[in-house]
């Protein structure tokens, strides 16, 4: 049985898709057969971040509507073995998703995969609820600012009340906090919430802190998951997060303001 992990946030633009791509790739790099499903029907982005948009022929909605088989719609990642992408449809909307249809697809994927990552759309409406309904674990992506934290809190409430596990009174969804776009300098200036502020409000285990990094934007534009950029702080932080997801202990990194060295300052870096 595969473990179903939803990557969600409530708020948009906090880095759900970037995180889905990075963590999915990280899991596959560890040898776990992983599929990332783009639940953002109508605003499909995952394939862009994964650099496979030109290979999309059939999509998630086609599979649900039985217009294509799963094997036709699944895109095998060219860089990472054991990694597959199930793209969203660009021409449909979230109403195309049905509980029964999603369940059928997830059950079939469960037979073959170790991890199923559901990249949730923003919001708390149908699309987001569909993405989290079958989850065993949730990665709540949050930026260190009040509105994002508030929305994450809201989505945590929905995880506890509107998921299948909640409805069937089963063991609740495992919840993890992934703090992204963290800028230690701005935290020091009091312009951003600190890690402990966010942990205090959301009160769930911290999976990782991803520093704000130009590498993320670069990776997105190139269609390469940032975790493959092993020289970047964001890439390293995502690797740490994947290790922690596997239950390993990793100290937090990149939380302190970095002092620029003399040469760096001289070169204006």
């Amino acid at each position: 049985m595969a473990k179903i992990i939803v990557v969600t946030s409530g708020k948009g633009g906090v880095g759900k898709t970037t995180s889905s791509a990075a963590i999915g790739t990280g899991l596959a790099l560890k040898g776990h057969k992983t599929v990332i499903i783009d639940f953002d029907v109508g605003l499909r982005n995952l394939d862009l971040i994964m650099g496979c948009e030109r290979r999309v022929v059939y999509d998630f909605v086609n599979v649900i509507n039985k217009e294509a088989t799963l094997s036709q719609a699944l895109i095998k990642d060219k860089r990472t073995k054991d990694l597959f992408i199930l793209p969203a449809s660009q021409t449909r909307d979230k109403d195309a998703l049905t509980i029964e249809g999603v369940q059928e697809v997830l059950e079939e994927l469960s037979k073959e995969f170790d991890y199923i990552l559901c990249d949730s759309p923003a919001g708390i409406e149908k699309g987001a609820q569909m993405a989290l309904y079958f989850a065993d674990a949730a990665i709540v992506v949050t930026n260190p600012e009040v509105s994002s934290v508030r929305d994450s809190d809201r989505i945590l409430g929905i995880l506890q009340s509107k998921s299948k596990r909640a409805e069937e009174n089963k063991e609740p969804i495992e919840e993890y906090l992934l703090l992204t776009r963290y800028h230690p300098g701005r935290v020091a200036l009091g312009e951003m919430l600190s890690v402990s502020d966010v942990e205090d409000i959301l009160a769930i285990p911290l999976l990782g802190v991803i520093p704000e990094s130009e590498a993320v934007l670069k990776a997105s534009n190139q269609g390469t998951p940032v975790i493959l950029d092993t020289a970047s702080e964001a890439g390293i932080a995502y690797s740490d997060a994947v290790d922690r997801l596997m239950g390993e202990e990793r100290p937090l990194r990149f939380l302190d303001v970095q002092k620029k060295g003399f040469i760096k300052r001289l070169l204006g870096g």
């Binding site: 508030r150 809190d153 809201r154 945590l156 409430g157 506890q160 009340s161 409000i201 009160a203």
Partner: protein, 241 residues
């Protein structure tokens, strides 16, 4: 005296009074439904009395019967009606529900006044005719998240934080053994003895029996510290613990 197999006794219950000023069935149903959605447990099968004594223009029997039907559809238990004793409607003996004597009961401030969305024509008042028998305590051990609402018919004990944007309500006392960042409304059915206790007061709103205070006022008294909130002569007292 028990030979007959039963006993007749007097009993007093707390009821809801639907005090109608001007009649518009759609408006009443719409606003009531909104109220019910806010606190569903509070209203299910709640006994309700229709009071038309304040209606200047009166009401025809067909409208009155339609109102009773609509209230029943909302799962309210209509137990009787009241009208102005000086000005009985002609159809009063045709009504199937009992006509109750006019009451001099004191009206308590409406439940959750901060969210008052009722049009001025329809006022739902809670009239306390007798103290409620204490209800069981509800214990919550998970954080109450933004957008969630927890209601207890007795005391409410939360062993975790109450997030900003969350709401905890109780007929009795509220205890929060975490940070209280959302709204806390104790004594929602008019119990002025109810209190709120919390480990860290950072609330958006605290209310006892309809008397409330917002963040700005709280910040000047006790903030981010343990505190209790209680009512003294219709105004809130907040003291550190």
């Amino acid at each position: 005296m028990t030979d007959s197999g039963f006993q007749l006794k007097g009993s007093v219950v707390t009821t809801i009074l639907l005090d109608i000023h001007t009649f518009s069935l759609d408006d009443i149903v719409y606003h009531l439904r909104q109220k019910i959605e806010q606190v569903p447990n509070f209203f299910t099968q709640a006994p309700i009395i229709i009071d038309i004594s304040k209606m200047k223009r009166g009401i025809v029997l067909a409208d009155f019967e339609a109102l009773i039907q609509s209230l029943r559809q909302l799962e309210l238990g209509v137990i009787g009606w009241r009208c102005d004793p000086e000005n009985h409607p002609a159809w009063r003996s045709s009504v199937t529900i009992p006509l109750l004597p006019a009451s001099k009961a004191r009206a308590i401030a409406p439940v959750a006044p901060i969210r008052e969305t009722t049009s001025p024509d329809v006022v739902v008042k809670t009239v306390v005719e007798e103290r409620l028998v204490p209800q069981s305590t509800k214990v919550i051990n998970k954080p109450v998240r933004s957008g969630q609402q927890v209601y207890s018919e007795g005391d409410l004990i939360v062993l975790a934080p109450v997030s900003a944007g969350a709401e905890v309500l109780a007929d009795g006392n509220i205890h929060v053994y975490g940070a209280l960042r959302g709204r806390a409304l104790a004594g929602v059915k008019g119990n002025t003895e109810a209190r709120i206790f919390c480990k860290s007061l950072e609330a958006e709103l605290v209310s006892i029996a309809g008397n409330f205070m917002l963040t700005d006022a709280l910040q000047n008294i006790v903030w981010k510290d343990s505190a209790q909130v209680f009512l003294v002569d219709d105004h809130l007292e907040i003291t550190p613990l």
